[in-house]
Symmetry: D3
Subunit: 239 residues, 6 copies
Amino acid sequence: MNRSFGRAALDLRPVSLEPRVSKHAEGSCLARFGDTHVLCTASVDEKVPPHVFGTGAGWVTAEYGMLPRSTHERMAREAARGKQGGRTLEIQRLIGRALRAAMDLRALGPRTITVDCDVIQADGGTRTAAITGGFVALALAVRALQGKKLSQTARPVLRHVAAVSVGIVDGAVRLDLDYDEDSTAEVDMNVVATGEGALVEVQGTAEGKAFRREDLDRMLDAALGGIATLKAAQEAALR
Amino acid sequence: MNRSFGRAALDLRPVSLEPRVSKHAEGSCLARFGDTHVLCTASVDEKVPPHVFGTGAGWVTAEYGMLPRSTHERMAREAARGKQGGRTLEIQRLIGRALRAAMDLRALGPRTITVDCDVIQADGGTRTAAITGGFVALALAVRALQGKKLSQTARPVLRHVAAVSVGIVDGAVRLDLDYDEDSTAEVDMNVVATGEGALVEVQGTAEGKAFRREDLDRMLDAALGGIATLKAAQEAALR
Amino acid sequence: MNRSFGRAALDLRPVSLEPRVSKHAEGSCLARFGDTHVLCTASVDEKVPPHVFGTGAGWVTAEYGMLPRSTHERMAREAARGKQGGRTLEIQRLIGRALRAAMDLRALGPRTITVDCDVIQADGGTRTAAITGGFVALALAVRALQGKKLSQTARPVLRHVAAVSVGIVDGAVRLDLDYDEDSTAEVDMNVVATGEGALVEVQGTAEGKAFRREDLDRMLDAALGGIATLKAAQEAALR
Amino acid sequence: MNRSFGRAALDLRPVSLEPRVSKHAEGSCLARFGDTHVLCTASVDEKVPPHVFGTGAGWVTAEYGMLPRSTHERMAREAARGKQGGRTLEIQRLIGRALRAAMDLRALGPRTITVDCDVIQADGGTRTAAITGGFVALALAVRALQGKKLSQTARPVLRHVAAVSVGIVDGAVRLDLDYDEDSTAEVDMNVVATGEGALVEVQGTAEGKAFRREDLDRMLDAALGGIATLKAAQEAALR
Amino acid sequence: MNRSFGRAALDLRPVSLEPRVSKHAEGSCLARFGDTHVLCTASVDEKVPPHVFGTGAGWVTAEYGMLPRSTHERMAREAARGKQGGRTLEIQRLIGRALRAAMDLRALGPRTITVDCDVIQADGGTRTAAITGGFVALALAVRALQGKKLSQTARPVLRHVAAVSVGIVDGAVRLDLDYDEDSTAEVDMNVVATGEGALVEVQGTAEGKAFRREDLDRMLDAALGGIATLKAAQEAALR
Amino acid sequence: MNRSFGRAALDLRPVSLEPRVSKHAEGSCLARFGDTHVLCTASVDEKVPPHVFGTGAGWVTAEYGMLPRSTHERMAREAARGKQGGRTLEIQRLIGRALRAAMDLRALGPRTITVDCDVIQADGGTRTAAITGGFVALALAVRALQGKKLSQTARPVLRHVAAVSVGIVDGAVRLDLDYDEDSTAEVDMNVVATGEGALVEVQGTAEGKAFRREDLDRMLDAALGGIATLKAAQEAALR
């Protein structure tokens, strides 16, 4: 086993969560998981979508995109093709659900925070970097609201949420797959969890051959270990 | 606890897999999970998409749709809105992956089978009914090929694949949620597995509050029990 | 002359109008003209489109779709292609006009009834089955309103409306063409009429060679005969 | 009864078919029916669509559009709205069918003639002016081919095809309705016929109240009278 | 040098600005620059777009289109392709900016004038003909408002605006390029100016080789000479 | 006059052209003009578009996009809106023309280089930063080809091309406007020129009031001064 950055099977890639990278956004974070770089910005809008209108609560939503040459081969620009693909829509729905799990939307008040996650460079694990960095951008945007449109004592952010991928490659569990590993993995799983290690989302997919309950258990162990590390990195970025 | 059809927490709804319901399709099955009715048709096309072209292998893909008034409230028709929504795309990608896990695509030869899953009436669990009934339609289409374009001894269908939903409602694990249960579930999970009980896809989502490893384990136990029953129903439909 | 179902030139195919087939819709009918099966649902919405807003009157509109494998060869899904084709739009405009001819829209009050006609299986004559079955779904939806949002004495449904196709095949007039006849017809005509035999819509098209006034007359005779039978089937379904 | 241009109930509006109005098109005609002005151009392309490819035959198709301010109120531009509406698609399908009824497509050889009918100014009857003028443009384009890509003795144009509207206004049959009459007509019918008076297409629609067989007969009489006049105008334009 | 219409290097093509060509539009002008014919209509709407709403001011906007066979080869219809191309959008933005430079939008009051410029026949310079004729249509629409919705003394039209193309062909400056010249020009420039010769828009593009400051100066001289002539033609059309 | 970065009227903002920022692209450059940051990547594809196919020559094209929160207020994502706006299309056409002016497309051989210019952060002048940085990315991509698919002696890059904005703000000429200046400028001009100071593209627009020939001259002087500085920065980045 020969992993990028010389790491062991259950190691994360070098992680960097650089906060406040945008001149304009209320909250922002450039999340780097090795060579995967995702720019996350959180924008506040004093409106809410119809399904929460009139309830007093707010909303958090996410959008996801990849720059055309963030990948090995250039991909067609979704704006030029005239629609977002299924993969894009699926990922941005996942990011939105994950980030809402961090929030008390009633405490946020009647406003929407949109977290844009744009992949500047891709090398596997873009959705987990987006969730992990998106949480930092979101928390910074909430902080910017506090003392202004939001009372100093409001606590709309209830808990940390972070995410990591895990898989089985050549029969062995590995944490935080890069692109080469991801392409050859037998099982690929994304785990979203709270800072306390409770599960928010588990998406495991067999690629080619089905997997056993024991595999699932070992992958979850690895993922929750990685998420504890990511939570610490989020705390450092927010300090 | 008061469940539809007077069933216990770990019971499926009444399941019916009615094969050969279409005059035109090479394979078809009307899958009924209680009041959820999904018409599955499998269509054979003697072409393959670019990414398998020239490899000798075939392909299986799926499309999913809901009739506008399959639901409590009428939904806008996707064809009229000019695009398929994110939920539709996400579900049809899941169905496609699940059905491919049943197949030896090389044994299928250079042809595509498209499994259309159209929801005639919805009451929760449309994607799991689609996978379970879609497998029957797919197997019938393959059978129609055997002895014609495919040799009698080719075995493109390697294994059964079926799916069921499971969730936590009012703190208790329940199998095969109907719409009312689904709307109030704390955790919602879809499990796709082979006839032997190996996992193909696990998608668990916390709705509002995160869940523990023990919850995940109990949900998987319940789901795999349901899938064993569904496999038997598939075998009966294919007999 | 050898017609499907062993019928004579001026016979309809076996017709079945099965009411109340949908758990959710206010009115519904599964219309079967031989192997052509169209699911019609009528949905009530307490809003009206801009062009009748403020007049006190209501509106009836229709949408039409075909399942991808309702036909001999699988057709591309319109939702996936991103738009409804010209044939679809033309048919749903026809269905809408035909059903409005049955109604007193002022007596309906300021609400819209949308009749969705989805072709489950196609074998010629889908638009005429849609109109004939759509009328039943519409009448049931109105009945559901009566005594609730509508007074018991309101009579928004003024008259029966039904439709049938007729054509010239091998020089002879034939009623209710199936797909094989339709593909080889020299003239193809759709007639919509009231229960009293007054004309609502006449659309006759020469396919390859032009037709004479006498041909038109004989086709109309045949069509009005068929419509009288269809009206009786509607009455039975509504009883 | 007070009709535009002081005409009697069964009179056409002043008709002008001005040939060769386009510098670029192989055939062209500016058709004026009173204040309705439609520019028809016929363009030859040495390719055929897939459904006739390899048969040796050619194809004739039509496209229809309205300039945004051809109408009383400005309409949104279809190119800006991103799609052609149902009415546009329905009309261009009708024009195409009508013009193909004039042709021997085998004699045309493997090429496509596209007839564009663009409404410069609208005052009712745009589709009938488009068919009548489109025939002239088509015949001129065929003539341009003869002696070049087509033999001098080929006869792809078999017969004249022209069209006119007719309706019942205030209980009386009237020929060639202008916009004001069309808006208040009880029945509205478009008739396409050959120069010999054989029917190509009959589309009659009740607007508000159903019509009797006798009404249909009287409308057809009037329409065929008008078409004889239009045929003479076509002959003059082609001389 | 051999130019169309036997003209000298710095001559315009024969220009005709025919006012009041539309029965329906508040203002209209058919602009002919040689064989380039653009129909310009100005439509008044008593609404304004969001960005000027509430300011008391009005708005002027433009749309541009080409008939499919206005060109040498037939172009695909933008409405059928489902979107306006980049060239179309760029041109209509230019026309809108140019016409707004003629106006006092506050004096217009809270209404929008939409100038549609539709190319009936193209032979180079469609955008400059559109601006020059669009100004006439706009001025006529304003005149129609005066004494009705606008006071007799309001002066929303502040100044003339006209446009012309100029280029370098075979090393020599030429005014008002036709299609053949445009295709072989080394530099192509469009100049929009006021009646007084002040610049509104200058867009010069090297086609293949870059140009010097002196070239720019000589092209501007030629263009401003042409615009003086066009202003006189506008005055004549508006008399 | 108080300009950002304490600069004088004819100074550029601090410019940084950081080459080789992308792990995947054949050429790349992060162009920073003050707070405007544009990521430029150049991707090589061994195919050419139809209009140069078979000529032996290659092609250079550009695409442009803005991240949703690159701006003061979040903009809707073009991929989600389903189309690229007119401004986007206009800018990417400009970038493509400008970069092609640097090239000998025949020497490039039958391949396409696509330069993607994505605005990470916007503060005025994104199109000029895109051209200036896009040139560096393009030149690096060509260098990567040399010695591999292209001979060592091929010289597809003929000359430097760079761009800068210039305008009149409060009556005074200013170079390289930032967003605040751009919003209040009376005239706004973008100039693209070669390293030798020959003009490639000049686009000047009056915003509200027309400008004189002398203004144009003074703006060109300022712009060409800035472009000389930008050329030096490009040379440094390519060293």
